[in-house]
Subunit: 170 residues, 2 copies
DNA sequence: ATAAAGAGATTAGGAGGCTAATAATTACTC
DNA sequence: GAGTAATTATTAGCCTCCTAATCTCTTTAT
């Protein structure tokens, strides 16, 4: 959303009208959203060409990351940051396409376990090199230290918005 | 998407398996997407409480920015960065709620002109102060110079991804 | 003048988010 | 041990985004 960002001097002028408007905060905010959107679009375009959506890709990456039986729809939803209802839909289409399977738990008959199939694993392997190349290309204008600085600034914002720090075990 | 970001050392390990994986690029990429998502969520939550979506809010802000008759569905779609079909849907709901009106062009019977109604303008005025406060809060962990540095880094990425520089007339 | 091409807006159909409500199972409490 | 509460997964209904197709009108070419 919002392809044409307002210029900084325009924000200054608007701030005269709205005393709550902090120009530098707004500028950073708009650029953050816009850049995130652009980057998402690039990666999403690549994934779409390979007939997979961002959501499905995330699920498959999570399944590979855990590489064992500990994945339930609820845990995947939690890690992916979507609702369980959404995860049900994602798993539906992934299962329909043969990328994953759902297996009943022998202990607790409420819970299911989700596995990547061989086909799903092969699909992921065929996509990942191109995906990582795309990520590298997107970030190519920044030097190593600039990337580190960007991450530092972004994490300061994240900490503001989440109870704990960015978490990131595993 | 992706609440739990992989740790940097985990990326290093994965890079052994995938030679295309650039750890620092990937770390920056994941943090950018995650932060953008978090920030969007915060703002979207505020707007939702005021019974308006991000898309509708963007359209109303664009209408106010132009403050005259030069807005057509096509130009709004272009500026907002969505398809015309999407804009049609947004304008439908905005018109249904009495926020905007569509008027026929006297010259060219294909084109329409979109205007903010008084009610739409009042609605925007009631929302903006809270919105700007939210933006300031989100960016509060960063100093002024950190915000400027963040914008600089983000714009370098944007330039990589768009033919021209971030544009931003007006 | 008329046919073809182009441009504006819309419609139809699909995907993936969300919330809220439901069904089945397990855990708690007294 | 019976009843209530909590948990797991799902369904239903809504919204917003997309692409592709359609309809109307204007411009261009012949």
């Amino acid at each position: 959303m919002l392809k044409d960002l307002p210029q900084y001097d325009c924000l200054l002028k608007a701030a005269e009208r709205y005393p709550e408007l902090d120009p530098s905060a707004n500028e950073a905010f708009l650029n953050l959203l816009r850049t995130g959107d652009l980057v998402f679009e690039v990666i999403n375009h690549f994934l779409t060409q390979n007939n997979i959506s961002q959501g499905r890709f995330t699920v498959m990456m999570l399944l590979r990351r855990h590489w064992v039986e500990n994945c339930t729809p609820a845990s995947l939803a939690e890690e992916a940051g979507v609702t369980r209802a959404t995860m049900t839909g994602l798993l539906d289409t992934l299962e329909k396409d043969g990328m994953i399977v759902r297996q009943a738990d022998t202990q607790d008959r409420r819970t299911l376990h989700v596995h990547l199939t061989d086909q799903g694993s092969a699909c992921l392997d065929s996509i990942l090199p191109g995906h990582f190349q795309g990520v590298s290309r997107v970030m190519s204008p920044l030097t190593h230290s600039e990337r580190k600085e960007l991450v530092r600034l972004l994490q300061k914002i994240q900490e503001q918005l989440t109870p704990e720090p960015p978490k990131a075990t595993r």
